[in-house]
Amino acid sequence: MNPSNYLYLSAVLFAIGALGVLVRRNAIVVFMCVELMLNACNLAFVSFSRVHGNLDGQVIAFFVMVVAASEVVVGLAIIMTIFRTRRSASVDEANLLKY
C-alpha cells in the first residue's frame, strides 16, 4: 500500500488546523482546529502503523484520543467559564495573563 496519499491528507488537515488556530478568534473554533490537528496526527500514526506492520502507531493514536478527550473536558469547561464571565468567547479578549 502506498501511504503517501494518507500522509498528504494528514499534512493538509494539520495545516488547516494550524491555520485555523492562528486566524480564528472564537475559542470554540480554535478548539476544534486543535482537535483537527490532533486527528491529523492520528491519521499519520495509523498510516505508519500500517506501513510498518505493527500496532505501535495505533496504540499511540488511542493515547492521543484519550488525551484529546480529557482535553475537551477541561478545555470546554474553561471556555464555558470564560464565556459566562465575559459574555464572549473571543480568545483575543481573554488577554489578562500578560506582563
Partner: protein
Amino acid sequence: MSTFSGALTHAADVAPAAVAASGLFSLTWLLIGFPLAGAAVLLLWGRRSDKWGHWLGVLASAASFVVAVVLFFGMLGQADDSRTVRQHLFDWIAVGTFNVPFDLRLDQLSITFVLLITGVGTLIHIYSVGYMSHDPERRKFFGYLNLFVASMLLLVLADNFLLLYVGWEGVGLASYLLIGFWFVKQSAAVASKKAFIVNRVGDLGLSLAVMLMFITFGSVTFDGVFAQAGSASESSLTWIGLALLLGACGKSAQFPLQSWLLDAMEGPTPVSALIHAATMVTAGVYLIVRSNAIFNAAPTAQTVVVIVGAITLLMGAIIGCAKDDIKKALAGSTMSQIGYMILAAGLGPVGYAFAIFHLVVHGFFKADMFLGAGSVMHAMNDQVGMRRFGTIRSWMIVTWITFGAGYLAILGIPPFAGFYSKDRIIEAAFSRGIVVGLVTVIGAGITAFYMTRLFVMTFHGKKRWTDDVHPHESPSIMVVPMAILAVLSALGGFLLAYNNAIFEWLAPVTGFEEPHLAISSLGMEGISLVVVIAGAALGWFLYDRRPVAEIAPAGNFLTRAARADLYGDAVNEAVFMRPGQYLTRSLVWVDQRVVDGAVNGVAATIGGLSGRARRMQTGFTRSYALSMLGGAALVVAALVLVRL
C-alpha cells in the same frame, strides 16, 4: 664640678645576663599586682566602693612602693653583676620562632624607675584624696590612677619589647581616661582623644621597631636583641633606632608629636603632675636608654635623637614663655625638660646616666610644682590664668615655699637638685659639640626666664584677682606630699649624685663615661649659672618690677606664635586633619556611588533588560500559538538540516 671627678669609665654595652628570680625577687610581680588589683576592684566594684575607694587606691600604690623599697635593698645586697633578675610568669605568645614570654626584668634601671613611679605616685595619690574630695567620681579617678601605675610599672619591668609595648599603650589608655576625666567638657573629651591618637602615631613607630627587631634578630627579648646588636647591619639598626625614636616622640611629646601635651592639661592637676610631668612622658627616655645597645651602634639614629631633643628643648621653652595658663606654662616646661633628657640620651654612654638622673630629679621638682599649681588653683576657684593671680604668697606661705623649692631646682641654683642634673647634661652636650652645648645653655637661660615669670606672676607682684576669690592654704593632706617633694627637689640631686652614686648604680645597664671638656667643668658651671641668673633677672624685671596687664597684650610675632604652640596644631590641621577629612568623605562617596553604585548598576541593568524582555508576553493567545508553531518549525528545520 670637682666633687664628681672620679675616673669612671664603664664600657657596659651589653647588659649582664639576667638570673632567674628566686627568694626575695620572686615578689617582683607584686609590684604590678597591687595596683592592678586596686584598679580592678575600684572599677568593677562600682559605686559600692565609693566610700573607701580612694584609700584603697592609696594603699595599693603604697604597698607597691614598700615592695619596691624591699627589692631595692635586696638588690643592694647582691653583687654588681647579679643584680639583673628575670621573673618568668608564663608563656605569652609562641608561634613558630616568635616566642614572647611574659617575663619581668628587675635591674638597676628598672628599680630606679619603679621607685620613682611608686614613690611619687603614692605621694600624688595622697594629694589627690584632698584635691578630688569634692568630685563625685573620685573612686573612678583612683581606679584610673592605679591602672596607670600598674601599666607604667609593666612598661619599665617588661623583659621584652612586646610586653613593654603593652605597658606603653596601657599608660596611654590611663592617660586618655584621665585627661578625659571631666568628659562632660567637650574640650577635655577632644584633648583626650587627641592625646591617644597622637600617641598611637608614636606607637606605630614602636610596633615597627619591634617587628624590625624580630626580622633582624629573630627575637624581641632584651637579651636576645642586645646581645646581637653588634652583629646586625648598621642600616637595620638605624631603622630600628629611628622607629624607636618615633615611639619615644609620641609618648614623650617630642617634636614633631608634641602637640598633645599642652592639651592634656585638661585633666585634673594630680594627673598632670604624675602622668604628664613625672612619669609617663619620660617613658620615651626610658625606651632610648634601655635600647642603648642599638643606639650605640647606630650613630645616625643618635644624631637624630639629639636633634629632636634640641628642637623640643627650645620649642617647649619658648612656648612656656608666652603661656598665661599656669598649667600650660608648666607643660611647656615639661616638654623642654624632656627635650634635655632625650638630647642627653642621644649623646650615647656619656649621656644615658645623666638623662636618667635628670629624669628622676625632674620627677621630683616638676611633680612638686604641678602639685603647687594645683594647690593654687584649689585656692583660686579653679582659675588657671596667671594674669589674674599675684601676691598669693601672703595667703599660701607653705605652697610658696614648696613651689619655690621646685622653682630653684629647675633653674639649677646650687644646691638644689636641678643644678646637679642639668649641668651634667650641659657638660655632656658640650663634649658632643659646641652647637649642641650652646642650645642647652640657651635653653637653661630661657627656662630661668619663663619660670621666674611664672613664679612672680603667681606669687608676687600686685593682687589681680577679683573679690569673689578667697585664697587659702590647702589642707594638710595636700600640703604634706608637696612638702616631701619640695625636700626631694632641694636635696635629691645632691644625695643621688653624691660620690657619683646613681651613675655607678646605673652603669652596668647604661654604661657610663665622664664627658671630656675643653674647659674645666667648674668654668662650665659658672657660665651656665651666669646665663640662668641673667634669664631669671630679666623675668623678675619684666614681671615683678613692672605691672602685669590683666588682659594679655597682643604681643609681637614670637609671642603670638608661642601662644599658638608655635603653630603645631595649625600645621597638623592643615597637613593631616583637613586633607584626612576630605579623603574620608570622598572615600565614603566613592564607596557609595562607585563601588556600591557599580553593584546596584549591574542589578538595575539586569532589571531593565528583564523589563524589556517581559514585553514579549502580550497576552494574545494567537501570538503564543504562532511562536509555538514557529518554534516547532525551527526544530524540524534544524533536524532536517542536521540530517542533510
